[in-house]
Symmetry: C2
Subunit: 267 residues, 2 copies
């Protein structure tokens, strides 16, 4: 059975990439709910409903594991999805992201960049404190990063100026953080520009690699050991041409639009 | 009966503002489909479906006229909506925008800034050519403008750099255009920064004022002559707090979140 990966759009392809690198012999089915993206600026009620419809479509295909590769959906919909599909293992990217940050921080002061929805839910603060009770978590909502990443503007002056404006309150906070967690799956493609602005004192982490390790743990397989090549099915709820074009930035390999299946969730 | 105004989100509030200035004694009901915005990056099929559901909800409230204050929806869904609600007058913002550009241009060379969906539909080119067959229309898709406007970043260095990048192919085309048409209802709030980049040789127009005049024509009333004060009802499909906060930039007056009604369309 395949591993299902769900995101509001193309950002989760950064997580899919890490999963395929760790589990090259497994079959994957990825669903991007591009008809209703972005989730990051929407209410919790809408995100819970959209994520439930998308997860239903993936689970109906038969899965060994479901990965919610969207921070906003992980922040607000994960408990409901776990309860609905039990005993199917359902993982979010939030706890793996929190674990990645806690593994790296020395001071326990962690800055998080995320969407409005994830910041509003206070989800990273809770997940980090569950792992390290004395951690200090600051968070900034960076909605323009999503639009920049989708536009393929992954570096240069505009991205750095936007990053400066978003990061400034985090960078000037005292005591300063020592880890910067990218709490949205769109943001890893901007990591180079964000690192320029953040400077050498901050270690940048994201949830892709730790999510892949968590899936390996659940499936009881060692990371990257397998041989052979699994299949990949890509599903989108809107405009497969745009999904292929924009998604290639995130998957870091070309996507054939003819290989993307258009599905209808509802509404 | 009220005048219904529909947009994918808050951008159409720039049109609502012009309509209320022209028709101060009329009642208005505005619906922003914030649960599914933005429309500008979605396929025509999705936009037709979403716009139809939203328009149904407005028409069910009883209207004297329906204004599609969203360029993307006007570009792809207007004929279907007109057919569905006939004899109710249904206006888009596209023909008024084309009329505004044609009224101002001397050379007939018109540059259009719009969303991906509007540009892809070739809608402004058709509407402008219908009014002036010898017009030369160039268009640029500016998806980041939507995100910048929604974030409230309506001026400054980031907006000007983004505008430079989007405008450059239009400004360097020879012969040069003499009119720049803002073909998305989000863009008027960025007009100052866009004008800085465009320079003095380009006259900037949008569709808000001409749409208001077209509605006055349909209703058989003179622009701005009436006295008294009509009512305004605001409806949104997601997060009324965000609608009120972001929408105030576009309506140019404060919006009380408690006065915004949350409605459920579908899906």
């Amino acid at each position: 059975m395949a591993i299902g990966v769900f995101d509001s759009g193309v950002g989760g392809l950064t997580v899919l990439r890490a999963l395929r690198a760790a589990l090259p012999d497994r079959d994957f089915v990825y669903l991007g709910d591009t008809a209703r993206l972005p989730y990051g600026t929407k209410s919790a009620a809408s995100v819970v409903r959209y994520a439930g419809q998308a997860a239903d479509a993936l689970v109906a295909r038969g899965l060994s594991c479901l990965v919610i590769a969207c921070n906003t959906a992980s922040a607000v919909a994960l408990p409901a999805l776990r309860a609905r599909y039990a005993p199917l293992p359902v993982l979010g990217v939030l706890e793996p992201g929190a674990a990645a940050a806690c593994a790296v921080t020395r001071s326990g002061r962690i800055a998080v960049l995320a969407t409005e929805g994830t910041v509003r839910a206070g989800a990273y603060e809770r997940a980090i404190r569950a792992l390290r009770a004395d951690a200090t978590v600051t968070a900034a909502a960076c909605p323009l990063f999503v639009a920049l990443a989708e536009e393929g503007w992954t570096g240069g002056q505009v991205v750095e100026l936007v990053a400066q404006r978003y990061l400034e309150p985090l960078l000037t906070a005292r005591p300063a953080p020592d880890v910067l967690l990218l709490g949205c799956t769109h943001f890893p493609v901007l990591a180079g520009a964000i690192a320029q602005v953040a400077g050498a004192g901050l270690t940048i982490v994201d949830s892709a690699a730790t999510t892949a390790r968590a899936v390996c743990g659940i499936l009881g397989v060692a990371d990257g050991r397998a041989h052979g090549r699994g299949t990949l099915r890509l599903l989108a709820t809107d405009d497969v041409g745009r999904f292929a074009r924009v998604g290639a930035t995130f998957l870091r390999e070309p996507i054939d639009p003819a290989a993307v299946e258009l599905i209808d969730l509802a509404g």
